[in-house]
C-alpha cells in the first residue's frame, strides 16, 4: 500500500496554524443580527409572564421571541437517525424552564450592545417550582418535569414522563439469579460516575441567512448536518428541501456537537426578520445550556468460581438525563452493550435500568457514550474481584476475555435504541495489547506498589476496553468522486471532520484505491446541498462506514477510468490496466492527465462521477489494554499521573499518526474524568462550574506522559482492514487510575472524580470507601 498506512500530514493542518478563516464564526456573513438568549436563573419555573415591550423599544433590536411566538412542535435536539430513539420532549421555547441556563426568550439586534441591553430589559415573572436535583429521588417524585401533551417517544423506549422516566431498558441471557446463588464467589458493588462537559475549545456557533431563492442557509459547527437539517425542518415547520446546512472546520466536538444548539433559535430569527443572524455561545452558556455526559449509578454483581472464572455479570444502572432526554436510551444501552461482551464466557448476563429526568443541564452524546461509565464500573469490579481472590488482575482478564473467532449473544440483543446485529469477532489482538502494555509500563517490577519517597506511594492499575465501529443496520454514509481535467479528483463527502483528520484519511482511502497520490484528491466535506448523505461523525463510524463508501466510489471511478481509457486506446477493456499514472493497452498508453482532459474537452466527452454508499452491517469493536501508573500523596490524598500506557487494536490504521493522537486525546479526556472534571451544582440547582477556572480540564502539566502504541491488526470487514479509533481511548482511564490508586494505597473510591479530598478521607477512614 502506498497511501494507506502512511502518516501523511492532515490536509488542513497548516492552513489552520496560519489562522486562515476556517471556522463558523470566521466565515459567518456580516452584517448579521446578534442572537442572544435569556437564560433561566431557576432550576425549575413556569413563565407566568414575559414583558417584551421595553426590550423591543430599544434601538437596533430586530425581534424578541418568547414561547408564545414559536411553533408548538415537539422535537428532540439529539442528532440521531430518523426516527430518533430519543424522546421528543422539547420545543424551540417553552412555558417552563427546566434547568438553570434553559432558554426563557431570545433577542436579536444589530449589535452586541443592543442585544445585551434587550436581555436586561426583558421583564419575566417566574413561578418558581420545586426542582428535582437528586437523580436517585427522581422516579415518581412529587415534581414532574414534563407534562406537556405534545411530547412523545417515536417508538417504545420506556418513556414515562409522568414518572420522570425518559427511558427504560432490560435484557438478560441465562438465569443470573440462579448462577449468583450457586456461585463460589459473589461480589456486589456500586459505582457512581459524574457529569462531564466536552469543553471543545470552539463553543457552539451558528449563522443563518436566506439565499437568493429564499432558502434558509445554516452555517454551523455540527457533527451531524443532515440531522440538523431534518430536525430544523420539523421544528420550524418547513420542508427539508428549503434548508441547507453546511459545516466548515469544527473546533472540536467530542459528541457535544451531536446535539442541536443555537440553530433553531437562529433559524427562527432569520425566518421572522428575513435577515442574516449569528449566535455564538459564551463559555458560560456552553456549560449551562448545552449538554453533559449522563451521570450514572451502576450496581454491579459478579459471580465467579474461586479460580477466577466469571460465571455471571449483572449490571443495573440509573442514568441522569437532566432536563431533557437527549440520547437518554442509547447512552444507557451502550453502558452495557460496549462493555459486557468483553467477558463473553459467562453463563448468564443481565443489564437494565432507567434514565430519569432531573432539573440539571441535559445529558447528551459524549465520546465513549455510556461505555466509559460501564467500563469504570465493570473494570473496577473486576479488579476488586481479583483482589478478593488474590489473583493477578491481568490473569483474571486473560482467563475471561473475548477472543478472535468468538461471539457474544449481546451483539444480537443490544443495538443502540433497537435490537443489535449478531457478529463474530474477526479481529481481536487483546492478548498482544496486554503483553506489550505490561512491558511498556513495567508491570512486572511495578505491580502493585512501591514507595516513591516520604509520604508518596506509586501504584499501577489496568483496564481493558472495547467500543464499536458505527451503528450496524442504521449508519449510512455516501461519497462522490468527480474527475477533473488534468487529473485531479474532487472527493465530496457527507462525513463530518470535527478535527479528527477524517477528511485526510478518507482522501488516503480514495487515493489508495485509485493508485494515485493523496494530494490529487481534493476534499469537500459536509454540506447538505453539495455533498452526498452521511449520518454524521458519531458512534466511531467515520473510518469504518464512511471509509467504505469512499472506497466503493473510488473502485467505481477506477473501473470508469479503465473503460474510458481503453476506448481512447481502441483496445478491449480486459486488455487495459490502470496504474494510477496511465491507462495502458497492448499498443500504447494514455496518461490520467491526458485522459481526464480529453474527456472534458475533446474526445468521448463526459463527466466521470461515481458515488459509493455504505450501510454498516456489523460493528467490529476496537480493543484497548490500558495501564496507569499514579503517585499518591499520603498527606494530602492528591493523585498525580506518572504514566499512562495504552496499546490499541484499531485494525489497520489508515494514518498511524492520526490514529495514535485520537487515542492520546481520548486518554487525556478520560484522565480528566478520572481526576479533575466534574459539573457541580449548588443546593438550588445553580451551576457552580460555569467557566474554565471552576471546571478543570487537564492542562499540559497534568499529562506528563502518554505512551500509545497500535497493535498490528487487520479487520477483514473494514476498508483496508480498518476499525474505529475515535472513542475507545477515553474509556479506560477512570478504572485504570482507580485501580492504580487502590494498588498504591489500598483505598477504593467508587465515585468519580478521584479528588484529593475523597482519597484523603478514605485514607483517614483506613478502609475502602
Amino acid at each position: 500500500m502506498n497511501e494507506v498506512g502512511k502518516s501523511l500530514p492532515k490536509i488542513d493542518g497548516v492552513g489552520l496554524a496560519l489562522g486562515r478563516p476556517a471556522y463558523t464564526d470566521d466565515l459567518a456573513p456580516r452584517p448579521a443580527l446578534v442572537v442572544r438568549a435569556l437564560r433561566s436563573p431557576h432550576a425549575f419555573a413556569r413563565l407566568k409572564s414575559i414583558d417584551t415591550a421595553a426590550a423591543e423599544a430599544i434601538d437596533g433590536v430586530a425581534c424578541v421571541l418568547t414561547w408564545r411566538d414559536v411553533p408548538r412542535v415537539a422535537v428532540t435536539r439529539a442528532g440521531q437517525g430518523h426516527p430518533e430513539p430519543s424522546p421528543r420532549d422539547r420545543f424551540i421555547l417553552d412555558e417552563y424552564v427546566r434547568h438553570v441556563g434553559d432558554e426563557v426568550a431570545v433577542v436579536a439586534a444589530d449589535s452586541e450592545a443592543a442585544a445585551v441591553a434587550a436581555l436586561a430589559a426583558l421583564v419575566v415573572d417566574y413561578e418558581v417550582l420545586e426542582p428535582v436535583l437528586d437523580f436517585e429521588q427522581a422516579e415518581d417524585h412529587a415534581t414532574v418535569l414534563h407534562s406537556e401533551p405534545e411530547i412523545h417517544e417515536n417508538f417504545p423506549i420506556g418513556f414515562e414522563p409522568t414518572r420522570n422516566i425518559a427511558s427504560a431498558y432490560a435484557m438478560h441471557v441465562g438465569d443470573v439469579d440462579k448462577v449468583v446463588q450457586d456461585a463460589e464467589v459473589v461480589l456486589r458493588r456500586t459505582y457512581y460516575t459524574q457529569a462531564q462537559q466536552h469543553v471543545a475549545l470552539e463553543p457552539m456557533v451558528c449563522a443563518t441567512w436566506l439565499d437568493l431563492h429564499g432558502r434558509l442557509n445554516v452555517l454551523t459547527s455540527t457533527q451531524t448536518p443532515w440531522h440538523v437539517r431534518r430536525i430544523m425542518a420539523r421544528a420550524l415547520e418547513m420542508p427539508v428541501g428549503e434548508i441547507r446546512v453546511n459545516k466548515p472546520r469544527i473546533g472540536g466536538g467530542f459528541g457535544g456537537k451531536q446535539m442541536i444548539h443555537g440553530e433553531l433559535l437562529c433559524g427562527l430569527v432569520t425566518r421572522r426578520t428575513g435577515k442574516a443572524a449569528r449566535m455564538v455561545y459564551s463559555r458560560r452558556e456552553v456549560f449551562a445550556a448545552t449538554n453533559t455526559r449522563h451521570p450514572m449509578r451502576m450496581d454491579i454483581t459478579l459471580a465467579a468460581d474461586r479460580g477466577g472464572h466469571l460465571r455471571a455479570i449483572d449490571m443495573q444502572a440509573l442514568s441522569d438525563t437532566g432536563a431533557y432526554g437527549e440520547h437518554a436510551l442509547t447512552v444507557f444501552m451502550v453502558a452495557g452493550a460496549k462493555t459486557l461482551p468483553l467477558y463473553n464466557k459467562v453463563e448468564a448476563v443481565r443489564f437494565g435500568g432507567k434514565t430519569v429526568y432531573t432539573n440539571r443541564v441535559p445529558g447528551g452524546a459524549f465520546r465513549g457514550y455510556g461505555a466509559i461509565q460501564g467500563n469504570y464500573a465493570l473494570e473496577s469490579a473486576l479488579a476488586e474481584l481479583a483482589h478478593e481472590l488474590d489473583l493477578d488482575p491481568v490473569e483474571l482478564r486473560r482467563m475471561n476475555m473475548i477472543a478472535e473467532g468468538e461471539t457474544s449473544p449481546i451483539f444480537a440483543i443490544m443495538g443502540e435504541g433497537t435490537e443489535g446485529v449478531a457478529m463474530t469477532i474477526d479481529s481481536c489482538k487483546l492478548p498482544a495489547c496486554i503483553d506489550r502494555g505490561m512491558e511498556l509500563i513495567g508491570w512486572g517490577e511495578k505491580y502493585p506498589r512501591r514507595e516513591a519517597g516520604p509520604e508518596k506511594v506509586r501504584g499501577v492499575g489496568m483496564a481493558l476496553a472495547m467500543q464499536g465501529s458505527g451503528i450496524p443496520g442504521i449508519d449510512m454514509a455516501a461519497a462522490t468522486l468527480k474527475l477533473n481535467d488534468f487529473g485531479s479528483f474532487n472527493l465530496l463527502i457527507g462525513a463530518t471532520d470535527l478535527g479528527t483528520g477524517s477528511d485526510t484519511i478518507l482522501a488516503q482511502i480514495a487515493a489508495e484505491t485509485l493508485s494515485v497520490s493523496t494530494d490529487l484528491i481534493k476534499v469537500y466535506s459536509s454540506d447538505t446541498d453539495r455533498t452526498p448523505f452521511d449520518t454524521g461523525a458519531y458512534a466511531s463510524s467515520t473510518t469504518y462506514v464512511s471509509g467504505h463508501a469512499v472506497r466503493t466510489a473510488a473502485q467505481k471511478m477506477r473501473a470508469a477510468l479503465l473503460t474510458e481509457g481503453a476506448a481512447m486506446l481502441g483496445c478491449a477493456e480486459k486488455d487495459a490496466v490502470f496504474d494510477g499514472a496511465e491507462v495502458r493497452g497492448p499498443d500504447g498508453a494514455i496518461s490520467l492527465e491526458d485522459l481526464s482532459t480529453r474527456l472534458l474537452y475533446s474526445q468521448n466527452q463526459k463527466q466521470l462521477c461515481t458515488t459509493g454508499s455504505h450501510l454498516c452491517e456489523k460493528s467490529p469493536p476496537p480493543y484497548l489494554a490500558a495501564f496507569a501508573e499514579v503517585e499518591v500523596d499520603l498527606g494530602t490524598g492528591k493523585v498525580d499521573l506518572i504514566d499512562f500506557v495504552a496499546v490499541v487494536d484499531c485494525g489497520q490504521a489508515i494514518n498511524p499518526n492520526l490514529a495514535r493522537v485520537q487515542v492520546e486525546g481520548g486518554l487525556a479526556q478520560g484522565i480528566g474524568m478520572a481526576l479533575t472534571e466534574e459539573v457541580r451544582y449548588g443546593k438550588r440547582g445553580t451551576l457552580l462550574t460555569g467557566d474554565m477556572m471552576t471546571y478543570r480540564i487537564p492542562a499540559r502539566q497534568d499529562i506528563p506522559r502518554l505512551t500509545v502504541e497500535l497493535a498490528a491488526s487487520h479487520e477483514p470487514s473494514g476498508p483496508f482492514g480498518a476499525k474505529s479509533v475515535g472513542e475507545i481511548g477515553i474509556d479506560t482511564p477512570p478504572a485504570a487510575i482507580a485501580n492504580a490508586v487502590f494498588n498504591a494505597v489500598g483505598v477504593r473510591v467508587r465515585d468519580l472524580p478521584l479528588t484529593a479530598e475523597k482519597v484523603l478521607m478514605a485514607l483517614r477512614e483506613g478502609r475502602a470507601k
Partner: protein, 150 residues
C-alpha cells in the same frame, strides 16, 4: 474612540468601542487567527503578543494597546507555517482551534528561552490548553520544531 498602535509591523489607526476587548477588535477587523475560547483568560486560544509578550487578547481592553505593539498570527506567517508543518507531521494539529494561540506562545518562547528542556516548555506553554491532542503529540512537534526550525 480612536487608537493608534503597531499591528504586525505596521502603524494602524482604529476606531474602537470603549468596552471592546482586543480580541473583539481584531476579529471585527478581519484578523480571525485569534479565536474566542473561554472568555476568562483560561484557555490561551486568543493568545497574541503585546509588546512581544504573550497575552490573552480576550482579557486585554482594546483601548490599552494604544501606543503599543501587537503581533498576531497573521504577522508571523513564516513561523506559523513551520510550526504548523511540525504539528501536522506529528498529527498534533487535530481541530486546529488552539493552534494559532500556541504558535504565538511558541514565537514568544523562542525569544525568551534558549534551548528549553521539556519541563520549561511545558511550563511556558501551560496556558495554552488543548482538548483534542492530550498534549503529547504537541510536545513531540514542539521539540522537532525547536530542534530543526531555527
Amino acid at each position: 474612540m480612536t487608537i493608534v498602535f503597531t499591528l504586525n509591523d505596521r502603524e494602524v489607526t482604529w476606531e474602537i468601542e470603549p468596552t471592546e476587548t482586543l480580541l473583539q477588535a481584531l476579529r471585527r477587523n478581519g484578523l480571525v487567527g485569534a479565536k474566542e475560547g473561554c472568555d476568562t483568560a483560561s484557555c490561551g486560544v486568543c493568545t497574541v503578543l503585546l509588546d512581544n509578550k504573550p497575552v490573552p487578547s480576550c482579557a486585554v481592553p482594546a483601548a490599552r494597546v494604544d501606543g503599543h505593539t501587537v503581533t498576531t498570527v497573521e504577522g508571523v506567517q513564516d513561523q506559523a507555517r513551520r510550526i504548523g508543518e511540525a504539528m501536522a507531521a506529528e498529527g498534533a494539529d487535530q481541530c486546529g482551534y488552539c493552534t494559532p494561540g500556541l504558535v504565538m506562545s511558541l514565537v514568544a518562547m523562542e525569544k525568551e528561552l534558549d534551548q528549553p528542556d521539556d519541563e520549561q516548555i511545558r511550563s511556558y506553554l501551560a496556558g495554552n490548553m488543548c482538548r483534542c491532542s492530550g498534549y503529547t503529540s504537541q510536545m513531540r512537534a514542539v521539540r522537532k520544531y525547536l530542534g530543526g526550525g531555527r
